[in-house]
């Protein structure tokens, strides 16, 4: 049986017993509950089409259709429950897995994802995303940071300073996410903090996605002259592991949480080990 929930003093995360996916996140302090469906998908990279010969490559993100392909809608999962930490391990496929983690006294939910090596035997370039689907009424708006500094409001299929005609419904709405992305309505804000720069967007209202890994088969003719294949040490593609931190709060209170947390991500404490048997030492 798939685990059904984990919780600490501040958060409760509920999982769908049939699919094993996250189905609801609650902020227990603020009594906020948000149905969230979180899963992993991949966009099939374009190798060019009738409209344009442009391929997806190192410079260019161009999926060949607007709908991403689900890696799995049913995950195998198991729970490790202790007093300091509770973890649900989710296996989406042989090359995609995730740990949903709640430490006992921390005011955020941690998602540690592991993606790769991305297979290419099917001759498809793949651009892998983590997507959060909610029922928030976001009216085409979402928010991303600008190099970890000010937050910029993004409006789907729109640009502030010129009359914009959208020709790429997915790629044309992707923005850099250096530290965080969020969506909100009047009462609830869902914020995701990243541990590295990624691309992100909100393609439909209430949805938010981040690209975590990509492996492509063609050069994009923008100068690099190579496909973004990255074979890695074992010549089968890179395995990437990273973290997304989720904060669910009111729009008024969220900034106070995500600004501190983002700084702690960027300037994270450094661990050094020793055997503890040192000789006296002075600058002289």
């Amino acid at each position: 049986k798939n685990p059904t929930s984990i919780e600490n003093k501040f958060y409760r995360v509920t999982f769908d017993p049939d699919t094993g996916l996250i189905s609801n996140i609650q902020n227990l302090e603020k009594q906020i509950s948000l149905p969230v469906n979180q899963s992993y998908y991949w966009y099939n990279a374009s190798s060019g089409n009738e409209d344009s010969s442009q391929t997806s490559g190192a410079y260019i993100f161009r999926p060949n259709q607007s709908e991403p392909i689900s890696i799995s809608q049913n995950v195998r999962s198991y729970l490790v429950k202790n007093s300091l930490v509770q973890e649900v391990y989710q296996n989406f496929s042989a090359w995609c897995s995730q740990v949903v983690r709640l430490y006992s006294d921390q005011k955020y939910l941690e998602l540690e994802w592991t993606v790769g090596p991305i297979p290419r035997r099917d001759s498809n370039g793949k651009e892998v995303i983590s997507r959060f689907d909610t029922n928030l009424q976001t009216d085409g708006l979402f928010y991303t940071d600008a190099n970890g500094r000010q937050i910029l409001q993004r409006r789907r299929n729109s640009r502030d300073t010129w009359a914009f005609k959208q020709t790429e419904p997915v790629a044309g709405n992707y923005y850099p996410v250096n530290s965080r992305i969020f969506i909100k309505d009047k009462n609830i804000q869902l914020t995701v903090l990243t541990d590295r720069s990624q691309g992100g967007s909100s393609i439909v209202d209430g949805s938010m996605e981040l690209m975590v890994h990509r492996r492509l088969l063609y050069d994009d003719f923008r100068g690099v002259g190579e496909a973004l294949l990255e074979p890695g040490q074992y010549m089968e593609g890179l395995v990437v592991r990273g973290k997304h931190l989720l904060v669910l709060d009111t729009p008024e209170a969220s900034a106070n949480v995500h600004r501190k947390l983002a700084l702690q991500q960027y300037l994270s404490p450094q661990i050094v080990l020793s055997t503890g048997q040192g000789a006296p030492y002075g600058k002289g």
Partner: protein
């Protein structure tokens, strides 16, 4: 002796737009990564010297760069070790530490010798699949570390023998 100049030079090279965005050829990206690695190796000596100076003892410090895949030879093999956590932020933080270990029970003590709550959790199958032959830790030690602003805390970890099973005595 060492200098942070090597890392600063590598960072200078990596300001090129290809390095920032990842649009270089593979062999150029490999070179960016190698330069950063060499820079970080040089900085480990700088950090060791700084910590020795702050602590007043010269120790054989180890930097575990593969903690994200539960690999650290120092913690996997040792029965006793110290964990120093430096906090570069201007406010105190609590950081959960995860260290790969092979024992089942550990005693963790804080900077003042106080006992710190800790627990040992199994390393996931996903991690074992990813790390290949880099490490073999079966478990991870987890504990919360409180670290002062712009400073460090030292924690000592000691492997505790699991209590022997009470076998009882035969009574005639």
């Amino acid at each position: 002796t060492s200098s942070s100049l090597e890392l600063r030079q590598a960072m200078g090279v990596a300001q090129h737009h290809d390095a920032v965005t990842g649009t270089a050829k593979q062999h150029v990206n490999d070179d960016y990564a190698l330069r950063l690695f060499k820079g970080w190796k040089a900085c480990q000596v700088v950090v060791s010297n700084a910590l020795s100076s702050l602590m007043g003892t010269k120790e054989n410090f180890a930097f575990c760069n593969l903690l994200n895949i539960s690999v650290c030879p120092s913690t996997e093999a040792s029965k006793t070790f110290s964990v120093l956590i430096y906090n570069p932020l201007a406010r105190a933080v609590t950081q959960y530490v995860r260290l790969p270990v092979n024992g089942t029970l550990y005693a963790v003590k804080g900077p003042a010798g106080e006992s710190i709550a800790s627990e040992v959790v199994p390393v996931s199958k996903f991690t074992k699949d990813v790390r290949r032959d880099k490490g073999y830790a079966e478990r991870e030690l987890v504990f919360p570390g409180q670290i002062p602003a712009l400073g460090f805390s030292k924690f000592t970890v000691e492997k505790v023998s699991a209590p022997e099973r009470f076998l009882g005595t035969k009574v005639k």
